[in-house]
């Protein structure tokens, strides 16, 4: 029994270049777009989770943070509408990523205020 010949090297794969190959993603970069938009959804859910925790300590602050979640979700939908992955792609990203950074810093400052000044629920997990 002769051993099977080694499979031919897959064209385009090892180089990591952008020439089309058998990898579905290389034929359709839309998968990367979809994964990114799912990552935005997860980030929005993370904001909502934080809002839920803050809600237990301070209702108004919690509602403010909860209201950020749908905004983040909308922010993630921008490239799907924008369409062409042209020169503007990184520029659009830079603007909204800066927005996310600012919101996280603001939200953690709010949380810090709630944590230090707010009345804690003594032994809520007791």
């Amino acid at each position: 029994m002769t051993p099977a010949p080694p499979p031919p090297p897959e064209p385009g794969r090892p180089s990591g270049g952008s020439q089309p190959g058998p990898d579905p993603e290389e034929r359709d970069p839309g998968l990367a777009r979809e994964r990114t938009s799912l990552a935005w959804t997860r980030t929005a859910i993370a904001f909502a989770a934080l809002g839920g925790v803050v809600l237990k300590a301070n209702v108004v602050t919690g509602l403010i943070i909860l209201a950020i979640a749908p905004l983040v979700w909308q922010l993630g939908r921008v490239p799907a509408r924008g369409g062409s992955p042209g020169a503007s792609l990184a520029a659009v990203s830079a603007a909204r990523l800066r927005l996310i950074t600012v919101s996280i810093v603001a939200v953690s400052l709010l949380s810090l205020l709630v944590a230090v000044l707010g009345r804690s629920v003594p032994g809520a997990l007791r």
């Binding site: 952008s18 993603e25 970069p29 990367a32 777009r33 994964r35 990114t36 990552a39 935005w40 997860r42 980030t43 993370a46 904001f47 989770a49 934080l50 925790v53 803050v54 237990k56 300590a57 992955p85 042209g86 020169a87 503007s88 792609l89 990184a90 520029a91 990203s93 830079a94 990523l97 800066r98 996310i100 950074t101 996280i104 810093v105 939200v107 953690s108 400052l109 949380s111 810090l112 709630v114 944590a115 230090v116 707010g118 804690s120 629920v121 003594p122 032994g123 809520a124 997990l125 007791r126």
Partner: protein, 135 residues
């Protein structure tokens, strides 16, 4: 990797506008998307740290004998969340610039920051628990 270089991207208009003064070539969109997902993953890590810190301060019963114990644990976690978000953005800018120029991606400091903080928090937790057990 000078300090000014690391933070230069945070100044508005300095970089990250897609044509940051020095021109490179537009990278493969998949790389841009992957860089963005990395940033988003670190953002969620930052948010999780804030949630953890707030949960410790607000939901845990106080440690007997260590009245400031919960704040000692929770406040650094919340602050670290804010720091991590800012560092994540500056690294996104640096990575995007490296992609445009075809340079090797710069080393990330964030795993080191996260590991050091988690180790530090573990030590503080152990000390607080020991003190409250002794009393």
């Amino acid at each position: 990797m000078s300090r000014s270089g690391r933070w230069a991207g945070l100044l508005p208009g300095a970089a990250g506008t897609g044509h940051d003064g020095d021109d490179g070539s537009e990278p493969d969109p998949r790389f841009t998307f992957a860089n963005e997902r990395t940033f988003l993953a670190w953002s969620r890590t930052a948010l999780a740290l804030v949630v953890a810190g707030l949960g410790i301060v607000q939901l845990l019963p106080p440690f007997p004998g260590v009245p400031v114990g919960r704040h000692l644990l929770g406040v650094p976690l919340i602050v670290l969340g804010a720091v991590l978000a800012v560092v994540a953005y500056s690294e996104w800018v640096r990575n995007q610039r490296a992609l445009r120029h075809g340079d090797p991606l710069p080393k990330s400091v964030m795993p080191w920051i996260l590991a050091a903080t988690i180790a530090g928090m573990a030590v503080i937790s152990a000390v607080i628990l020991l003190i409250s057990a002794v009393r």
